[in-house]
């Protein structure tokens, strides 16, 4: 397979970027999107051009490091799939593919396709945890939890923190990300003690970091590689309402 790539190149945060055109030749349909970029990069380096920078690590859809907006869609638009899992067989031979970074005010570009997503960590620092110091825990079976409840908490806890929800949203809202954590812990008995404070603090930090508001476009759910449901946003809104009226 052969492709024409239009790739966002930006030397660093200070300089302006632009789309450059490269050819991707002899690409196997079994390659992942990132493996295709690896091949392009090897050739760029041979030609003396600095390789395209992008974040990645696990390459199996679990670490959340990879990003990329592919033809306008974060992670490329295949349902339940991260960029590193996306295979080239999902494209047609000869396609022109545009590759850009995740864009959001809260995600400044570091270089090329790499952005700074540390704002998401700071939201977690504000309250995305149970304050259980090491050592004081009761026996793990002391508190039975309904199977359905745990499964539903797990659905929310599956978030990989990639930030695609933010990149897909017109308002650059981080509601799906934040609600996944709020919802995970609000459903479990261990999360009850800090339930009210958690949602209040996480939402405040989210606003402070410059993420936008949710106006129910649901683009986030559509691109989420872990298929986190927007129901979590509804749950978070309820939690938040309760928290501020308490």
């Amino acid at each position: 397979m052969n492709f024409t790539l239009r790739v966002w190149r930006q030397k660093n945060a200070r300089e302006k970027g632009c789309l450059e055109t490269y050819q991707a030749r002899d690409i196997s349909e079994d390659m992942s999107f990132l493996e295709m970029l690896d091949v392009v990069n090897e050739n760029l380096v041979k030609d003396g051009i600095e390789p395209i920078h992008f974040d990645h690590d696990c390459r199996e859809g679990i670490c959340g490091a990879c990003s990329l907006v592919i033809n306008g869609i974060p992670h490329g638009g295949k349902k339940g799939c991260t960029t590193c899992e996306l295979r080239m067989r999902n494209f047609a031979d000869g396609d022109t593919i545009t590759v850009e970074p995740f864009r959001a005010g809260a995600f400044p570009v570091i270089k090329d396709l790499m952005v700074d997503r540390s704002a998401l960590d700071r939201i977690m620092q504000a309250g995305g945890f149970v304050s259980a110091n090491t050592g004081g825990a009761p026996d793990a079976n002391a508190l039975p939890i309904k199977k359905d409840t745990v499964e539903s908490a797990m659905d929310a806890a599956a978030c990989i923190g990639c930030g695609a929800c933010v990149a897909a949203c017109k308002n650059a809202s981080a509601m799906l990300f934040v609600s996944a954590k709020v919802s995970h812990l609000a459903q479990l008995p261990q999360g009850q003690v800090e339930r009210v404070e958690r949602v209040r603090k996480m939402v405040a930090r989210m606003d402070f970091e410059g993420f936008g508001n949710c106006t129910n476009y649901y683009e986030c759910e559509a691109v989420c590689p872990k298929e986190i449901s927007v129901k979590n946003i509804a749950r978070m809104n309820r939690e938040f309402l309760k928290a501020i009226t308490k």
Partner: protein, 637 residues
């Protein structure tokens, strides 16, 4: 050098208690006077950093990823062991200890392994308290499964994402301490050297990966939780950033590296499809509970699997190991796969693959049951290969997965360099020559939550807070050596990409030092590695600038370290003239082709000391004594 493991005396079951009583404590009011550097924030690093901060110490934590939540602990799927005996099936601390030490083929330290089993139960309690959504039964109690050939159900799991959930638990504890100001976090920062002051580890030199700046950090102790070195094989299930650099830099400063040749090759990975690949995807070996492994009986049989009649199939694991069959341990199962492929009977486009066939299980249990058990794995397989395992047998092949070797540590998890502590996969201590399934997560969290936080206090109490200043000449010298190495890498200005060197190294290692090793092959590998290293320093091409984000220079530094480390690895494999666990020396096997251990000569930990570049390192031995278990031979026949 005399290696003192500092194993406490007394009965095995009391050692840890006695030790905790005898080690020194830091007065609560004084804890804030001590600072620990923690490098690596995976399961071990994040849990250690959080726990140390909770105790009142100041912590500086470092990771090369953009966030601690990306560490490759996240990739573990299957689960975490603990000796809870919740299933009432006869499990106990002793049994978990025994299974672990036997699984490691009696090449780990008894006392460490026993302690691991002891604290396993605390880990589960802690994780549940953090809100980790472990699977549960209908009655609301925790569910377990049996895993990796264990005869009891002791594995706790969160779907196929146990590593992710445990890491996010440790990450959340760490984030909390960052928010409280007790941990200062440095993401996108790579450790490039260790700084010793009067022989003690008191700091590190790092490169800020965003700005390229070289920075000095001082502390009262340094903790490395920097993971394994499996990417020395290039093709591996590890994340692409995983590397040996921090551990190797410590080694070059005098820390001993123990048993580097003990590396685990995982049998159930998706086979590679072409040279462009540098990452293989692991599928949980729980698949082997229901899948049957086979290849055609005849060489070069290219027929589609459905067209190969039953009597022309070789279910080689069931044939060779009737009692364990498809559940034979990881090393046996991996080696057997390579054997049949080398014999020309492999399947798939490259001929390096074997079938893992679910048709019998689907017939017996129905598609629905199989879907419930393995649905997500089947989907992942389909996504990658475009083949539907409900219809066509899966293809699998072994890949490098976990490294049991690592920096040598004593019972306190301290290396031979005072102040330098090593935790998780980065140390060597608990798994011996082979690791059991669902034990990696257990060890990472045991070290980080429940062992290091006590033992580091003993070191602090002995040496006192020193308030080391980074203006000291030791920091200047280390910084200078880091800078000059980076300049040298840029100055090579060669023609060949760094990636191509890494691939070439991986190939040498896989062929000569992978699943099966022999004397001649290892000697060849050593000379090939030396030649490749020389070529690297003459022909590597590093583009871009040093004062900004530059993934090529990061990569170049890591590959340069792998090119040195690989040699030590081969010396270790060469020295160990026996087959044990995952280390298989072709010269040492029984007539039936089984591993032949040599307890008289090799019941020791091989700890290697750096003696100069390109020079054979010096071997130091820690004899292993077994007071509580009898050294039996594994038999899976």
């Amino acid at each position: 050098m005399k290696l003192d493991s500092k194993t406490p005396s007394g009965p095995l079951a009391d050692k840890w208690d006695n030790h905790r009583f005898s080690i020194k404590l830091v007065n609560p009011a004084n804890k804030r006077k001590f600072t620990a550097i923690v490098v690596g924030t995976g399961l071990a690093g994040a849990s250690a950093a959080a726990s140390l901060a909770e105790l009142g110490y100041n912590v500086k934590a470092f990771c090369f990823q953009d966030s601690p939540r990306r560490a490759h602990s996240i990739g573990a799927q299957g689960g975490i062991n603990a000796a809870k005996n919740y299933q009432n099936d006869g499990d106990s601390i002793w049994r978990l200890f025994y299974d672990t030490i036997k699984g490691g083929d009696f090449r780990s330290r008894e006392a460490n392994t026993y302690r691991l089993a002891q604290v396993s139960n605390n880990i589960i309690d802690q994780c549940v308290a953090q809100g980790i959504p472990f699977a549960r039964d209908y009655g609301g109690l925790l569910a377990n499964r049996s895993f990796g050939g264990a005869q009891v159900s002791r594995t706790f799991y969160a779907r196929g994402q146990t590593g992710q959930q445990l890491l996010l638990g440790a990450y959340s504890a760490l984030q909390r301490q960052i928010g409280l100001g007790k941990v200062k976090m440095f993401p996108r920062t790579e450790m490039l050297d260790l700084v010793l002051v009067d022989g003690h580890a008191k700091g590190i030199i790092v490169r800020n990966l965003v700005t390229g700046e070289i920075e000095r950090h001082a502390a009262d102790a340094v903790v490395l939780g920097t993971g394994g070195y499996g990417r020395v094989f290039n093709l591996s299930t590890m994340g692409l950033g995983c590397n040996v650099t921090a551990a190797y830099r410590a080694y070059k400063r005098g820390a001993l590296f123990a048993n580097p040749c003990f590396t685990q090759i995982h049998p159930t990975c998706i086979p590679h499809t072409g040279d462009y690949q540098s990452k293989l995807t692991l599928m949980s070996e729980s698949l082997r509970n229901d899948g049957r492994i086979w290849v055609p009986k005849n060489k070069g049989d290219k027929r589609a699997p459905h067209d190969i009649p039953e009597n022309e199939r070789d279910y080689y694991l069931e044939r060779k190991y009737p009692s364990f069959g498809n559940l034979a341990p990881r090393d046996i199962s991996s080696r057997s796969a390579k054997e049949v492929c080398d014999d020309g009977r492999g399947v798939g486009p490259t001929g390096y693959g074997v079938y893992l066939d679910f048709s019998e299980a689907i017939g017996r249990l129905g598609q629905q049951v199989i879907r419930e058990k393995y649905g997500n794995l089947f989907e992942m397989y389909k996504l990658i290969t475009d083949e539907d395992p409900y219809e066509v047998p899966m293809r699998i092949y072994p890949a490098s997965h976990y490294t049991m070797g690592g920096l040598w540590v004593d019972y306190n998890l301290m290396s031979n360099i005072p102040g330098l502590h090593v935790i998780g996969e980065a140390n060597f201590s608990d798994h011996g020559a082979n690791r059991l399934g669902a034990s990696a997560l257990m060890q990472g969290l045991a070290d980080g939550y429940f062992i290091l936080p006590y033992t580091i206090g003993d070191y602090f109490a002995r040496v006192g807070a020193q308030n080391i200043n980074t203006d000291r000449p030791e920091f200047g010298a280390a910084e200078e050596s880091v800078r000059s190495r980076i300049e040298r890498l840029f100055a090579v200005k060669g023609k060949r990409t760094v990636e191509s060197f890494h691939k070439a190294l991986g190939l040498i290692m896989w062929e000569k030092a992978g699943l099966a090793r022999n004397d001649a092959g290892l000697k060849e590998a050593i000379s090939h590695i030396a030649a490749l290293r020389e070529e690297f320093w003459q022909d590597a091409k590093v583009l871009g600038d040093n004062n900004e984000m530059n993934q090529t220079i990061e990569r170049a530094g890591r590959v340069a370290d792998f090119l040195e480390f690989a040699e030590m690895f081969c010396y270790d494999a060469l020295n160990r003239e026996e087959s044990c666990g995952a280390h298989f020396r072709e010269e040492y096997q029984t007539e039936e082709g089984e591993a032949l251990r040599n307890d008289k000569k090799f019941a020791y930990v091989a700890a290697w000391e750096y003696t100069g570049d390109g020079v054979k390192p010096e071997l130091h031995k820690e004899e292993l004594t077994f007071e509580n278990v009898e050294l039996t031979t594994r038999s899976y026949k």
